[in-house]
Symmetry: C2
Subunit: 118 residues, 2 copies
Amino acid sequence: MAKGNPPPLTPAAFQVLLALARGRAHGYRIMGFVSEITDGSVQLGPGTLYRTLARLAADGLVEEAPDMSEDEPHDARRRYYQLTGLGRQVAAREARLLERLTAAAADAGLLSRQEKSA
Amino acid sequence: MAKGNPPPLTPAAFQVLLALARGRAHGYRIMGFVSEITDGSVQLGPGTLYRTLARLAADGLVEEAPDMSEDEPHDARRRYYQLTGLGRQVAAREARLLERLTAAAADAGLLSRQEKSA
DNA sequence: TCAGATATATCCATCCCGGATACAACGAGA
DNA sequence: TCTCGTTGTATCCGGGATGGATATATCTGA
């Protein structure tokens, strides 16, 4: 099932969606999330981040959220973003693809045996 | 651990490595493998495939294998490829990254609840 | 021998990435 | 309140990857 290929998703775009799946956040924090999630092996530069955010917003996958930070002091520069319903669906679909690729990798013996790290 | 970011790997490059992790194969078959593994949601075009193979070979991640097809009739057009030791290491490292991203997605509730497919 | 499928390879326009740069707004301290 | 270093957003540019179209050669079957 699911043979169709609706709208493709670049790696950077998925990582941004994944960071926002935890909850609303502003750009600079998203960079930190991605670096944290990937244990530092993926680090988005500002160019990639803000361009990706703009594209995701234009495609209706994320939307700007009206500040509303309760614990943080409020900073007029920050722009908060959150997933839309569509954004969550697309992120979920991509996550299932990664899950499948990971399973295939395990199947091929790439994960079970300890491959020496380069 | 593993904070360094040695050589990055494009999605197409990883999918080719993953297909070859199952065993040696020729280009056209790799396309089929990738489509099969991803349930048709990822389909490499010939341009991407052969350019990616050439780059992976130049980087020492894959190498050409001397035909040696036992069950198949032999076809002079085909060029077989297989993973090198380095290629397997790099593929394994990327697989672990995908595993981590998948876990993060599950953590954010993208996999547990059934998100309606778009 | 001829037609169609298989298989590899290259070309080209488009898109994406990462780093550099610029600029605005915040907080701390004198 | 003035200044300074930091935080945060945004744009620009060069290098590289993508994918679709095209070209060409080889295999198979009629």
